[in-house]
Symmetry: C2
Subunit: 403 residues, 2 copies
Amino acid sequence: MPGRDGVVRLAVDYGLVRDALAERDATAFVHVGTCDDPVLRYLTRASDVDGELAVCVTPEQSMLFAPDAPAAAREAFPGDRVVPGGGAIPTGERVAVALEDLGRSGTVLAPRTIPHDAALYFEDRGFEVASTLIVDDARVAKTDAERLRQRSVQAAADRAVARARTVLRESDPHGEREGAHSGHGHGAGGDGHGDANHGDGNVDDPRDDHLVFEEMALTTERLRREVAAELAGAGVDPGVVAVGAGTDATPRSDAAVRPGETVVLALAPRDRDGYHGRVVRTFVVDGDGGWTRRAQLAVDGAVDAALAELEPGVDLAAVEREGVAELAAYGFDDPDGAFDAYGVGLERRERPLDASAELEAGSVLALDALVTGPDGVLRVADLAVVTVDGAERVGTADRTLVP
Amino acid sequence: MPGRDGVVRLAVDYGLVRDALAERDATAFVHVGTCDDPVLRYLTRASDVDGELAVCVTPEQSMLFAPDAPAAAREAFPGDRVVPGGGAIPTGERVAVALEDLGRSGTVLAPRTIPHDAALYFEDRGFEVASTLIVDDARVAKTDAERLRQRSVQAAADRAVARARTVLRESDPHGEREGAHSGHGHGAGGDGHGDANHGDGNVDDPRDDHLVFEEMALTTERLRREVAAELAGAGVDPGVVAVGAGTDATPRSDAAVRPGETVVLALAPRDRDGYHGRVVRTFVVDGDGGWTRRAQLAVDGAVDAALAELEPGVDLAAVEREGVAELAAYGFDDPDGAFDAYGVGLERRERPLDASAELEAGSVLALDALVTGPDGVLRVADLAVVTVDGAERVGTADRTLVP
């Protein structure tokens, strides 16, 4: 395995596609979509290109049909030929005409999600369109080059988790009193800062406490921005950064974080080649060590038990059973406990996904454990890669609740 | 117009869709895709949802078919009913079965990009699938709520431009001498810092100078990360942040920025509802005022001339002609000068796009001028909204070359 990320070019094994063509007596594989479509991205390595692209693989050549300014696409494309331009002609029609011009006929293989208009352009020219899973199948086990990218983006996720810990650790858990006083004009005369019993019942209610970071209330949105900026500064696309606190799991709310409640940080950053990392952590500032302690042991144990279960040939149902059993051993039975294992790659959630899916060496999976309690949710997820005889974790962020 | 961004809910006028159903004697509008698909996003307002979604609008109701955990989707959906779950059943099939269960039959309208398998599930159940541009048409003119979001994300883009200016302004344009010395072991004995003529010919070559920011070489990748972190910290998705320097316009290279060369920063950040901003700026540190000065006047004039041309009823070709004429007036004829005007919204490039497209009040456009010279590219783009009797700029970043 090469030593440095980014140095290893993401190759594409067009041979796999050609084997499928031979097996099904087809004349070409085609797909049309944006560069965020995982099948198109896998076969073309195009990124940051606006508009509609197409890929076409025949037994003799592999072609990328790109919009008018394909410099970036041309550079990244590992295949034979980049066909630029096209103007107002629909991409599907361009590919159909090109295949016709090459003298091809018969069956064209395509993913089931090929745009309907593209399929009709092929049918209009006498081709038969048949669906194939060949690229989806190829994406299940990652190559060395793909795994290097996922290790690298996961390292950025670890840095972002560390940033969240720092922000929470440096926050004052009893900031509401001062904040409320100055904000609502109660502060005149300088009443006792940090005095928990100075007779202002409403403000003293511990449920009204909230964290203060750098002299402003720490809200879930502020924490989200701090974490997203850390990811962007590490050179990756922050993607969905979800921060929920306590019983409010609504990702778009902007509540002040309160001491004692769980804060769940769910990250799925994406590297510039489109590969995702995955980490979920839960923090509690000034917790009382009640159910959160037991919940922490449960999710910890569940992720570790699932990790120990991973190896080629095992099905996903068995992995999830291990996780669920561990949660139950700590008293978190359905519906209070849930365990989820799913593939991570060019999509945040991808195959292996079905319970019956048998694991392959090279697959990268998220192991995701969640329990709900009286005051909120506690959730931990880690990333792992299936090896020839087991699995190893990707990423090193620790799981302690205390930031 | 409401006063605060984010307060105004993004409404959806399902009435437009229903008018199209009546006009074409159709029973429903359907589409299937991920929440990054602009048509699906426009009709459902779903974001951050993994997996395949579908939307279905009948004369009586509007439905969102969501994957298993649709809390976020449910909250955002402005329509009538969220249908969760579905497991392994393909989304297109679920919608077809649901329509059949509602006793519907006849023609189903869909965007041309509906996945082929979804179209086939409808046809298998006796529906006819006909394509429609109704949602694409509706997206061309933005509502107040949409424009507020674009103003807000453009304000974040302005902050990011300011951040780039700060980084470039605080960089030392003659850092190579020290950097090369320490890096390659020439530095022993403490030769004259900042002395341009100390006899080391290779290092003294001004072409080898590069900018140093916070004691490290300022590369295009470092500048990209600084800018992306600023955008993420402002709460928006950085999206594609492209930084090119000099004649190296390859967005994935990581060259040290050199004094005197142009640095082009192209931003298209996206807010959490999926709406984009657009700004492109060019900077020159320690420029000699040669062609860059003339080029700056040309692109400035071109963007302003195009802005002055915008009003409802004008076609895009006329706008681009104004821009091109202004570039030519400064001596930047084709192929040295290029002017591009295009719609910006849920996509980085969207309608109005065609030369023949007549502008409508409410459209948001990028005005994008570029000239090439001996030492690189100089490019400026601004965002504007078409009003009932003209246009106004969105965003306030100034266009000076000197950071």
